[in-house]
Symmetry: C2
Subunit: 155 residues, 2 copies
Amino acid sequence: MDYEFFMKEAYKEAIKAYKLDEVPIGCVIVYNNNIIARAYNQRNTLKNSLKHAEIIAIDEACSVIKDWRLEDCTLFVTVEPCPMCAGAILQSRISKVVFATKNNKAGCCGSILNILNNNSFNHRVEVVEGILLEQCSILMKNFFKNIRKRAKKDD
Amino acid sequence: MDYEFFMKEAYKEAIKAYKLDEVPIGCVIVYNNNIIARAYNQRNTLKNSLKHAEIIAIDEACSVIKDWRLEDCTLFVTVEPCPMCAGAILQSRISKVVFATKNNKAGCCGSILNILNNNSFNHRVEVVEGILLEQCSILMKNFFKNIRKRAKKDD
């Protein structure tokens, strides 16, 4: 599986979020080497706490697969998933998660908690990190830099 | 706030799930002492891993409040939330969660993990447990007893 190819597609989704002033996170879900769902963070735009990229993509993937089990799917996301999204990945029985950059504030694939690999839960997920790291990390940094710049202007 | 009154409403939702052969979990979200969202688990019926009672109710509450922040809301649920739902509660900044019975397999309000009160995250949630404990616990036990009975018949 060409991790970089699919992460580039997730990055394209993240750019859509960036253009809307949303935290720039993008996601694609791959099944049989095809992208079956793609999404970007739209929490502010849709005024809905659930509208993280991963959740929108999982919702779409369930519609495509016509099952709540996404066992043979791989989820690509530009930033390490938060507890909600890591939990949704677990609930969907997704087999593999590939992410680009760590989330030191809320990441739940090892940074704060490790929801995807906890022997107490009934499912474990293979995790690959660091694909397209620099590009995705710079996008996040630019987003937060812009926010601080605007906050300073408003002072 | 009358915890028992609202938990009885969550229980009524759980009964709807039970009648559909879904894991019988029900939820209501309360704002200004009014129920603004109510839902029950529909994972199998809707063939979608996201359709836990809490997620459906949070989605509805965001529509009603017209914001992703549900800061002044209390969420009542018959069973301790899983990682996905605890994460969604955190993302919604819900201030209080009241649940009936613990979930020793996946509960994330203290049983397996404590997502709602972790100093590394940017939000903490007040948790009250044990309201209508027996009733909600018996409903869960009956559900799993029925499953085992059917599995035995199929043997």
